[in-house]
Subunit: 228 residues, 2 copies
DNA sequence: GTACAATATGACCGGTCAGTCATACCACCC
DNA sequence: GGGTGGTATGACTGACCGGTCATATTGTAC
């Protein structure tokens, strides 16, 4: 963790260091990120850096903490239409948060992407339950709840489906943002935060239709199912 | 491309260089791969390296070519049940090839994974048609054909669905192999190549059921749809 | 043998890297 | 003035990097 000296710094200086670090980590994986680049970008001496942080890893986890806070902010800023979201509304919300995060903080999203690639284990086994969990287990819990609530088909292999949702969540945001950027550049500019325009909503609807059709216990009859 | 000198080398020496390179590229992204590590692992002098290759990128694309050949081999080694596979059988085949490749050549799979992360564009726009294509466009063509054949629902956003299949293909293999390794270690050992055991087939069935339900025009009634 | 071309070699060069440390600076108190 | 503790600095070290090149070795033809 950063030293007491670092927290004694005037905020302006701290922010300069942090934004230099963010720029570096967003363009280089931790492995090839450079302390020299950060200090020169931040306008501080190299010796100062080592008075603030033990090493570059120390700074890295500090930045990860900042990212985590911002991510919670984004999730909580999304409109919550009802206290108890049904299963697929919840999923939509999660994916929407990922897109929102990508738009608002592309550097943070990039850092997270680098982090995902470096953590090479695709899944791990929970020592208590013996269950195989992907990522942080959010989707695993989501699917288990969904089955209990009769929203998710019982035959779905929860562990695998959780993994699939995990990688979709990780990969879909930059893609959707790229497409949104084409059709609705006004959204990208910043002010229009939570509410997406029609084009964007259509894209989201399509994604959710695919996911819901794939996972739901009682998928709605398809739009063109009998209307061919 | 490698020099004439390189191709004049005795095969044994060439293989030693290549396997050293493969080991290096499988554990480091190109950006941080080390010529020194390769030459010391291969037991050749640094000067020799630069008589064989222009630089490390040159060697890298040479290795990519080897990987590409092996991949075609794997795909063609899969049993082809019928000349004209229907849409979802074809998809299953593609995913199965990815798993097979991961088992047989994990280093190659790792190199490809590094390559995917480095190519940061999630999709590109075809200058001729104006269509947005993900990856090499295989899935895009697959989905388009599927719609023509009445196998894929017409409402599916082809570009987005292609992207999703792309990232599933890229991510699912290590995960499935991890799970296969638990239940059926005999498959991993090598000899049992194309035919998977029951556990593995069940996993695959589940994956295909999810994908088919999500994308198909006329998904089969779910196993538990009316039998609750 | 000699001559010539192909190949092999590792010391060396300029550069970047993370991390250190003696020194300097500065604010505050006496 | 002097003393003290916190902070800032950048030259320096040793290691590694990609790439070069003069020299040595080997193969081949005569």
């Amino acid at each position: 963790m950063p030293t007491k000296t670092y927290y004694n710094l005037p905020e302006e200086k701290r922010l300069k260091v942090e934004s230099a670090a963010i720029a570096e980590f967003a363009t280089n994986p931790l492995q090839s990120a450079s302390v020299n680049a950060i200090v020169s970008e931040a306008g501080i001496a190299k010796g100062s850096f080592y008075q603030y942080f033990e090493n570059i890893d120390d700074l890295y986890v500090h930045i990860l903490g900042i990212i985590y806070k911002k991510k919670l902010e984004v999730i909580n800023s999304l409109p919550l239409d009802s206290a108890n979201l049904d299963t697929f509304r919840y999923l939509r919300r999660v994916l929407q948060a990922a897109v929102e995060f990508q738009i608002k903080y592309p550097d943070f999203a990039s850092i997270e992407r680098f982090r995902r690639m470096n953590s090479n284990h695709s899944s791990s086994v929970d020592p208590e339950t013996g269950e195989r969990i992907s990522g942080d287990g959010r989707f695993h819990a989501f699917l288990t709840q969904g089955i209990l609530h009769d929203d998710i088909a019982t035959w779905v292999d929860v562990e695998m489906a959780a993994f699939i949702l995990e990688i979709i969540e990780g990969g879909i945001a930059p893609y959707l943002v790229e497409r949104i950027g084409e059709k609705a550049p006004d959204i990208m500019s910043g002010t229009l935060s939570a509410g997406y325009d029609r084009t964007t909503q259509d894209l989201f609807d399509n994604l959710m239709d695919i996911l819901e059709a794939g996972l739901a216990r009682d998928p709605q009859i398809r739009k063109d199912f009998y209307s061919k």
